[in-house]
Each structure stands twice: as C-alpha cells, then as structure tokens.
C-alpha cells in the first residue's frame, strides 16, 4: 500500500501554481522530498496534513482523504517549518500538552513526553522553558512532538534545519530507527548529504512539477541520455586521457592531478568498453567513480 497517493494533484494560490499536476505513489519507508525553494515541497506536505485542500486532483494519505480528517491525524506525526510551539512552557509541559491534544490521557501523555524527550536527547533540558532552548533544541522538541502518539507516518518539513552536526547525526539515526520499526517517513531537507545519509529514495519537485521519484540509482539510469561524468584515478592521467580520447562514446576528457575526468553520453557502453580496456593492466588505475551518481548531481541535472 502506498503511504501517499497523489493523482494529478495541483494547488495554486491565485495565479501562482505551487504544485502542478503531480501524480505519484510514495511507498513505505523513508522518502526524501527534494527541490529548490519554491518547488512546492511545503505546499505538498501541508496538503498531506490537511492544512490546505488540493485545487484539483486527488490526494490520499494512508488510504484516507487528509482534508479535515482528525482521525487520520492520529496516524501522522508532523514536524512543520518554523519555530517550536508553546514557548512559554517547559519542554516537558509542551510535550504533555501535545500528547493531551493528541488524545492521550494525562498519564499516557506524561509517559509519552518522557519517552519522546529521551528519544530526541532532551531529557536533561525537560524542565527548561522552550523560550530558553537553542535552535537545535527546538528542532528536536518539534521532532519529539511528532513522536508522541507513535504514528505510522511521519511528515517532516526540514527537520534538521538549525541543528548542529552532532544533533543532525542523532536525528538521522532516529529517522532511520523509525524506518527500521516499519514507520514511513516523508522528509524534506535542503542538505543533500543529510538526505543521502537517510535514504536513497527521493521525490524531486521543481516549479511544482514532479521531476522524479524513485531510488537515486534508478533515476540516474533513467537519466542515461544525459552526459555523465566518470572519474578514473590513475598515476598517469595524461596518457590515459590520450588513450580514451578517440573513443566514440567519449564527449570530452579533462585531466587533473591523479585522475582523468571523462564525460560520456553513453555511460553503459562506455563502462563496458572501459572494463576491457583497463583489464590488460597497461594503464594502471586506483579507482573508478561516477560523481554524478548522487542526489546532488541528479538534483543539478534535473533542476539545472
């Protein structure tokens, strides 16, 4: 079952289109929502949370219509953009309030609050006013609010924003842990390495349009028609470059210290030919990598 199922989903504000004819079925697990500013990521997530309605098309979350559906909200944990709430309360009080509003009893809310504080590493700061929290601590508190009622699906809008590297790593581990428990996560971030650390599955939006959805490598393959860069580390880049220059699959060669960068428009054929060429041992090399086989490269390719 898809956790998010959008069919021809569009949403516009006046004459501005925020989400444009998106059709996608997001599978369980962690999915990174990627796109430049204004791509429609937040609008998409807000529609998933029932905060706004689609202008056209349909959207189903966990097989339910999200608009004005309190029952569905019991199954979703949401980390929105912006600051943490209830800043005049202590972190624990804010979490207890969040738990009570999620339908937990007083005792359950207290237990859930303590558990969530522990999960995000804020136990020692539980008695402090939220106002006194650092930005990273507030991000973790927001995350804790999403954890309270143990939902099936997490929708996280820039959850790592403002976190220091250590906190980021901890939160990433937490997200991975949730996925390991069988929870689904829809997470947006601007920090591509963070996203790569969490998942290889992305949903790429640009100007409201769905540019790509799937595993990074699948997308890369799908993008084979676009030129691709291959980096071959070798002690003699000049010689290797000269040898490869005449190949019909090679578009350009660039030598740099300790490596040669080859751009090819037929990567599959190029790799097959390269494998045989290097096998005779006349051209020593230490590694072959494709710098384009990552989220950032795909992002760059698709978004431009």
């Amino acid at each position: 079952m898809s956790v998010v199922e959008a069919t021809n989903l569009s949403r516009w504000y006046g004459s501005v289109i925020a989400v444009n004819d998106v059709t996608v079925m997001v599978q369980p697990g962690i999915t990174g929502v990627l796109g430049p500013n204004g791509a429609g990521k937040t609008t998409f997530m807000r529609m998933c949370m029932g905060l706004i309605r689609p202008s056209t098309g349909s959207l189903r979350i966990l097989d339910e219509n999200p608009w004005n559906n309190p029952n569905l909200l019991k199954r979703i944990g949401y980390v929105p953009e912006g600051d943490a709430p209830w800043r005049d309360r202590t972190g624990r009080e804010a979490l207890i309030l969040g738990g009570r509003l999620s339908g937990l009893s007083g005792t359950q809310a207290e237990e859930a609050a303590d558990r969530a504080l522990q999960q995000v590493g804020l136990t020692n700061e539980a008695g402090k006013k939220v106002d006194a929290y650092s930005r990273g601590m507030r991000q973790r508190l927001k995350f804790a609010l999403a954890l309270l009622h143990d939902p099936e699906l997490y929708i996280l809008d820039e959850p790592l924003l403002g976190s220091d590297p250590v906190s980021r790593r901890e939160l990433i581990h937490l997200i991975q842990g949730l996925a390991a428990q069988g929870k689904s996560v829809l997470v947006s971030t601007h920090i591509l390495p963070d996203l790569e650390a969490m998942t290889q599955r992305i949903l790429l939006l640009n100007h409201g349009r769905l540019m790509a959805y799937g595993e990074v490598t699948e997308i890369r393959d799908w993008l084979d028609r676009y030129p691709r860069t291959v980096r071959i580390a070798t002690p003699d880049p000049r010689e290797l470059g000269a040898a490869l220059w005449r190949w019909p699959t090679v578009l350009s060669i660039q030598a740099e210290e300790g490596a040669v960068l080859v751009r090819t428009n037929k990567p599959r054929a190029f790799f097959e030919e390269l494998q045989g060429f290097l096998a005779d041992g006349r051209h020593p090399f230490t590694s072959i990598t494709s710098p384009d086989d990552n989220v950032e490269a795909i992002f760059r390719y698709l978004v431009g």
Binding site: R46, I52, P80, P85, D88, L97, G103
Partner: protein, 544 residues
C-alpha cells in the same frame, strides 16, 4: 475528543493568565474603576435637603371669624451633609410657588415666596435647619380665591452651586402644600345671619357636620362622570329639618361652580344621611394646561349659624393622554444616573467593542503569532473546537473582569448605603450580553481574516460612525437611516439599555416591546454569527 477540548480549555486559561490577560483585566476592570475613583475623589461631600415641614400642618388662608387676620405658615427645612467629608459655605433656599405646564411643555415655577440662607459649613453627617415664613393671601382683587389650593414647596441645598459634591442632583426636595380656605368662601353663599341673643340657645342645641367627602374614580378625566358622596351628620340631640346640604365642584381659582347638588334633609338626632353628586367632567379646553378643581361639601341649618364644611379636596383634571399633558420630567441625573451613564456611555459604546475585539479577534491569529497554530491544527481535534474553546475561555475571563469593574464602579459611586443591587444586576447582564454579541462578531472576523485586528478595528469604527451619524440631523432626519443602525450591535444594546431609567432599574428579562425584540435580535444574531464562524473555521485553509 472531549478530553482534547478540555485540554484546549485549560491551555487557553493558562494563556490568559499571561500578560495579555492582565491587559484585558486592566481594560475591562480598571478603566471604569479609575473613572469612578476620579469622580468620587473630586466630589466627596454631598449636601441634601432631607426634610421640610410647616406649621400649622393644615394651613388656611382665611377664616370668617377673623377675616382680617393673616394666617402665616412657618416652614422649616433640614439640610444634611451626607458625604464623607466636610464642606464649606453654601446657600440653601426654601421656595413656595406653583408649577405651570405651558403649551411648549415647559414647567416654569411661579414663585410666591422664598428665603435663601447662607450656611457657613457642614461636617459629615451634620445638619442645619433653614426657615421661611409665608402668609397666603385669601382673595384676589376680583373676588376669586388666590393663595388657596396646592403649592409646591421646593428646598434647594447649594442653590448657588458653590460646592462640588459626590452627587450633584439630590439637592432638591419637593413637597406639595395644601392651603385651605378656613371656611366656605363667603362669595358662594350668604353669610350666616348675625347671632342674636335669641339664637344663642339654638346655637348650642344644633350641631350638623359633613364628613367623609369621597369621590370616584380617584382621578378625573375629561368627559367622564365622577361621583362625590358625603355624609351629613346631626351630632345634636334634636331632630333637624330643612338641613341644607351641598356638594359642589368649583374651579380652584374661580368662583363658578361647575357642578352642584343641594338637598334639604331631615335628620333625626345623631343620625346621618348621604348626599351624592354626579358630575360630568367637562372637556379639556387647553391641551397643555390642566385645570384644578376643588370639591366642597357643606351643610347649613336655617336660622342658625351652624355651617359645616367637609375637608375640601382637590380634583386634578387631566386630559386623556397624560403623557402629553404631564410629560415625564426630563431624566434628572442622579448618582445612580451617573453610574448608569458609566455603563451606557462608556462601557457599551466605547469599551466593550474594544474588549470584544481584544479578546475574540485573535482566536486564531494569536495562536499563529505564538507559533502554536499549525501544531494545534495537526492534532486530532475538531477544527471548530479551537476557536470555540478560545472564545469560551476569553468570554468568561472578560466577563469576570468586566464584572469586577462594574461592581467596583457600583460600590465606589453608589456605596453600600445606596446599594440597590437591582442597579447592579441590570448593567452586569447588559455588559455580559454585549461581550457575548461583540465576541461572536470578532470571533467570526478572527476565523475569517488573516489580519483580524485590522478588520475588527474597521468594525468598531463602523459602529462608532453609525452612532455618531444617527445623532446628526439634517432636515430633521438622521444622517444614518434607521435600517442601517439595525446592522450594528450597539443599536440593540442601546434599545435594551433604554429599559433602564434613573428611577427604575432595568427589568430583566424584558417581557415585551422593543426591549424584548432587541434581546431576541441580539441573541439570534449571536447564535447565527457563531454558527457561521464554526462553518468558516471548518472550511478555512492554512497555507502559511
């Protein structure tokens, strides 16, 4: 879901305990209190006439046995300082006269005598007496009765307005004074014959009296019939024949009998007989000038000097529409009036809309500004419960705050000694109703607009504009048409507040008329507006 709503309620209560709630309490409670303290602080003394009496208590203008003798009346009035502080010199005056009602409905006072006394000062609770001596004149030069009938006795404390008082409008005491003709006016019948030595015995043997002159109905109206009855009593020990008994109705200041019946009676010793007069009240000639009639009864025994008169009584003749003839006196400001004006002129039109705006317009935007809204909206709770919980909590807190202010103003201005709590209940009910109605409007604005305070200020401005416009007349017509006034909350509150007067506390709940309509309209409008607010809050999106 109910548990979540309860959590929202407690959460809102906690929020209101913050600085914003404190500001609300200041606004609602302290402003009326401060104004009241300012008033009481600058007007702390209060002189008032508490009593006026005269001697003799039943004065006469003329007496046949001493026709040249005057019959002065000695008036004594008591002035008391009812305030909490001493007061300096001021004047107090006793005045005797008659109040006329003129065609323009004004009521000038035709003064016959007065005495103004300078009182050097009065401590709290201290009293001072002032006096006036006046002798009513019996006849005019044309033969009519002059200073006979009903007079107004007016006592004014601080008649020159020398001092500032906590209550400026309790300085007058009014009483009616009845001056009788000591005997039946001589012009209406023959004077009894001179007593002779032969009649001396008869005089001692004969004693008739007229008693219990009554009339029905108690008040006279034009073109109706009144029935007068009197008992003629033979107090003597002999049978009397040809006792001439008369009842008549005369214009008080004229000589013409408008109605009269005479009977010759035969009365056994110690017996009595009733004489009855039916009198058709004449039509009213001058719409605005009531005539004052006097009913008289007397009995004579021919050949004696025994003449008896009943207690002369006055019959005031009203026209049918008494409201026109005797319009209610203009509403005099009193200390209760001041208190009511605090409610009516400060709270209703000025403070309550602002309080309503303050507490209700931010039902959603305040949560958004605090960064809580999106967290509330993404919890499994009904959308309607967010503004509803906020509205309920804010309404209750604002009502408590305004109740404190109103109660404080009440106690400060009226004090416990004047504490007629019906004067408290009415304005409290009214301001709470106003808070409810304004709160509903601003809740609707709060759930509809992204900048509700701006729109709310526009609504307050609209209410004020309509109020001002409805008081400006061009060609005797208000600038703002009445139907437009119906589109304001204030219009209906104002209609309700008119149920009140200085003399009469608001009757709550109104049982009929415009007040009941106003109450019904307000309640219906409030319910409809809240229902629309609930609908809007269910449909509203939150893209930011």
């Amino acid at each position: 879901m109910a548990g979540s709503f309860g959590t929202l309620i407690t959460s809102n209560v906690k929020t209101w305990m913050s600085a914003k709630g404190f500001l609300l309490v200041c606004m609602a409670a302290l402003i009326p209190l401060i104004l009241s303290v300012a008033w009481v602080g600058t007007h702390r003394a209060d002189v008032a006439p508490v009593d006026v009496s005269w001697d003799p208590p039943n004065p006469i203008a003329w007496n046949a046995t001493a026709p040249t003798e005057s019959h002065p009346i000695n008036f004594t009035a008591t002035i008391e300082n009812q305030g909490r502080f001493s007061v300096g010199a001021f004047n107090a005056t006793i005045r005797i006269g008659r109040t006329d009602v003129l065609p323009d409905k004004s009521r000038p006072f035709d003064e016959l005598a007065s005495n103004s006394t300078r009182i050097p000062g009065l401590g709290p609770g201290e009293r001072k007496e002032i006096t006036l001596r006046w002798a009513p004149r019996p006849f005019s030069q044309f033969g009519g009765l002059l200073d006979v009938g009903t007079f107004d006795v007016l006592v004014d404390a601080d008649s020159n307005d020398d001092i500032g008082e906590i209550e400026e409008f309790n300085n007058r005491l009014e009483r009616n004074l009845q001056v009788h003709f000591g005997d039946v006016p001589p012009s209406f019948f023959d004077l009894p014959p001179e007593l002779t030595a032969n009649d001396a015995n008869a005089t001692t043997r004969v004693d008739v009296g007229v008693e219990d002159l009554t009339w029905s109905p108690p008040e006279a109206f034009p073109n109706t019939t009144m029935v007068f009855t009197v008992n003629v009593v033979n107090h003597g020990s002999e049978r009397l024949e040809n006792v001439n008994a008369t009842i008549r109705v005369v214009l008080q200041d004229g000589t013409i009998a408008e109605g009269q019946v005479q009977k010759n009676l035969t009365l056994e010793a110690h017996a009595n007989e009733t004489v009855r007069l039916e009198w058709r009240v004449p039509p009213q000639e001058d719409k605005y000038q009531p005539k004052v009639y006097r009913a008289e009864a007397y009995a004579r025994v021919p050949g004696t000097n025994d003449t008896a008169t009943a207690n002369n009584v006055e019959v005031r003749l009203f026209i049918v529409d008494r409201e026109v003839i005797f319009p209610e006196p203009p509403e005099r400001a009193t200390i209760k009036g001041y208190y009511i004006s605090v409610v009516r002129q400060l709270l209703l039109p000025l403070l309550l809309p602002v309080i309503g705006l303050y507490y209700a317009a931010g039902v959603l935007s305040d949560e958004r500004d605090r960064g809580n809204l999106v967290y509330l909206l993404t919890r499994p709770i009904n959308r309607v419960s967010l503004p509803l919980a906020r509205f309920l909590v804010s309404f209750v807190i604002a009502s408590i705050a305004i109740a404190i202010g109103t109660l404080g103003a009440f106690l400060l201005i009226l004090g416990l000694h004047q504490g007629e709590f019906s004067y408290l209940l009415a304005p409290l009910s009214l301001v709470i109703l106003a808070l409810l109605a304004y709160g509903a409007v601003f809740t609707l604005i709060g759930v509809t607009f992204a900048r509700p305070y701006l729109v709310g200020i526009g609504f307050v401005g609209w209410e004020w504009l309509i109020q001002v416009g409805s008081q400006i007349l061009i060609n005797n017509r208000p600038v703002v048409a009445p139907w437009v006034q119906n589109l304001t909350i204030y219009k209906w509150l104002e209609v309700l507040s008119r149920e009140w007067s200085v003399e009469k506390p608001l009757v709550w709940l109104p049982t009929g008329g415009a007040a009941l309509d106003a109450l019904r309209n307000l309640l219906i409008a409030t319910i409809v507006i809240l229902a629309v607010a609930a609908y809007v809050s269910r449909r509203r999106e939150f893209p930011e």
